[in-house]
Amino acid sequence: MTSESAATTPSHLATASQATWDRQSLLGLAIPLGLVAIFGLYPALQANASAREAMFTVLMAVALASSLNILLGYTGYVSFGHIVFFGLGGYIGFWVIDEWGLHLLPAALLGGLVSAALAFLLGLAILRLRGAFFALATIGINEAMKALVVNLPFLGGPTGLELHFSVYRNYGGPARALWLSYWSLVVVAVIVVVVSYLVKKSKFGLGLMAIREDEDAAEIMGVVAPRTKTWAYMLSAFFPGIIGVLFFFKNGIIEPASAFRLHISIELLVVIMLGGAGTVLGPVLGAAFYQRLRGLLLTTEFFKDIQLAVAGALLLLIVLFIPGGAIGWLRSWHRFPALRRVLE
């Protein structure tokens, strides 16, 4: 059973591997954070609005995908309708800015909290469902929320809301307001990546991954799955709520059709699967790559109308051939075991 050396190694192994583990796993945080910092600072160096708009899209995808990854990648629950939290948070924040004149930052926080609260309530009902049933329920919720908003006059019904131009005056003019929403997004993206890393490295994250691998076995080991899943769902809904407020504040207009776009949910899945579900770096890489690809397709005559079909085909190919995504694939290289420890 045990060789003599095996009997002496473990405690020694535990401390030695502890030290290297800490150092290498810090790289696992530094790499994705570095990338986010580069994306975030690029428009400031360029000092132009179009670079800022391009990077807004990339960082938004990074932050949305990383949030969804907490549920999809760590917990193994596929939410197809995750954009509902982006839309709902966006609406709530937009409304309080427009109606009460609340500042963008508390409004964004409020949007996040409302989305998390919705996730809590929904979680009570649908987190009991497993696999495809959960995924279907999330689509239903997005559509239901869209229909609800269309029928709420104070949120502008089907035509939505438009920010009074005067609102931007509180921020020193529209240009400064747009930069404020951009820098807020950069900060949120950084926070999401750090949270994603901390969750993965925590006891909570270990519980989530145990649920992902075998929920019943995890419960038999003492993981309180209902509570743990609810926290994951709320966390993954909180940030999209904030991001929705930042995005629609920047746009100055919000309407049901743009707030609850189901296809963005699907694109987020492509982003996560492309980079690698359940990894910290995956959604960051996936977002950058996918947004670049999308930009190229949209500006190509042949592809511009079938851009979503390409995304769908891409998702199919990833699921079939590299289910671990780019990072999962790199981590599985046996010749470079160090990659396993550096790429989180």
């Binding site: 190694t9 473990p10 405690s11 145990a210 691998e213 019943d216 038999i220 080991m221 309180v224």
Partner: protein, 262 residues
């Protein structure tokens, strides 16, 4: 029947007239027994006798249709599995359930983190290494659980359960599928676990192993407990021989193995 077990009487688990029905099928029928602390209880019986169902009733996978189960004086009936796990009751699965995409160490840490002692990640890592050493998997700590062979996966089941520092350990056929060398190594490991003060219930088909390990044996057949007693008494019981062992010759052989091993 309603009295709670006082802490002092040394009874760790009391199974009280437990019945489990699935539709028209009675998988476990009116089973009662008491398990004092520190013993190894063996459960034997033909396939489909209700052994695993009984385990599932004890650790909360199924609520019993009738009857109740008391563990350290607490009613387990109706509690979810995770609550029961945290009270100090751990189990292994007959069909192994490794968390494939996690490492052997992480699998074991789940047991330690969420078990009876509710350890922090750092403490859990230490306990996990200690337990992996005991079951002989320390060298595989960093391997993904999905890459282990069957014998190693059985050991991982055991490691995860042990890492939770249980008072009571339910072992569901941990020896099945192992070769003779692996069996005797595992039997040795189980003995070591008992020496650490863990009470054990073991379901097993490998007769000489269970007869050697158990202090007390109960026999299930079609969900009913048809006999209980010391291993020697069980092996000599005509009802058991008839129901389970099939023919007296085999029983005779068993007894010889038992004697030679002891």
């Amino acid at each position: 029947m309603t009295a709670t077990v006082s802490a002092g009487d040394g009874i760790l688990l009391r199974v009280d007239h437990v019945t489990k029905q699935f539709g028209g099928l009675t998988a476990v029928k009116d089973v009662s027994f008491e398990l004092p602390e520190g013993l190894i209880l063996g459960i034997i019986g033909p396939n489909g006798a209700g052994k695993t169902t009984l385990f599932n009733c004890i650790n909360g996978v199924y609520p019993p249709t009738r009857g109740q189960i008391l563990f350290r004086g607490k009613r387990l009936t109706g509690l979810p599995t995770y609550r029961i796990a945290r009270l100090g009751l751990a189990r292994t699965h007959q069909i192994v359930r490794p968390l494939n995409e996690l490492t052997v160490l992480e699998n074991t840490m789940v047991g330690a983190c969420y078990g009876r002692e509710n350890l922090s990640l750092r403490q859990a890592r230490h306990v996990a290494y200690e337990v992996l050493e005991l079951v002989g998997l320390a060298a595989k700590a960093q391997a993904l659980a999905g890459t282990l062979n069957v014998a190693q996966k059985k050991r991982l089941e055991l490691a995860r359960a042990l890492a939770s520092r249980p008072y009571l350990l339910l072992l569901d056929e941990v020896l099945a599928g192992l070769n003779p060398t692996e069996v005797s190594a595992m039997v040795e490991t189980i003995r070591q676990i008992r020496e650490r003060g863990v009470t054990i219930i073991i379901i097993e088909h490998i007769m000489h192993a269970i007869m050697n390990l158990s202090d007390h044996v109960i026999v299930l057949n079609y969900g009913e407990m048809i006999a209980q007693g010391t291993p020697a008494a069980i092996a000599a019981d005509p009802r058991v021989i008839e129901a389970y062992l099939g023919n007296p010759e085999l029983a005779e052989k068993l007894l010889t193995i038992d004697r030679s091993a002891a």
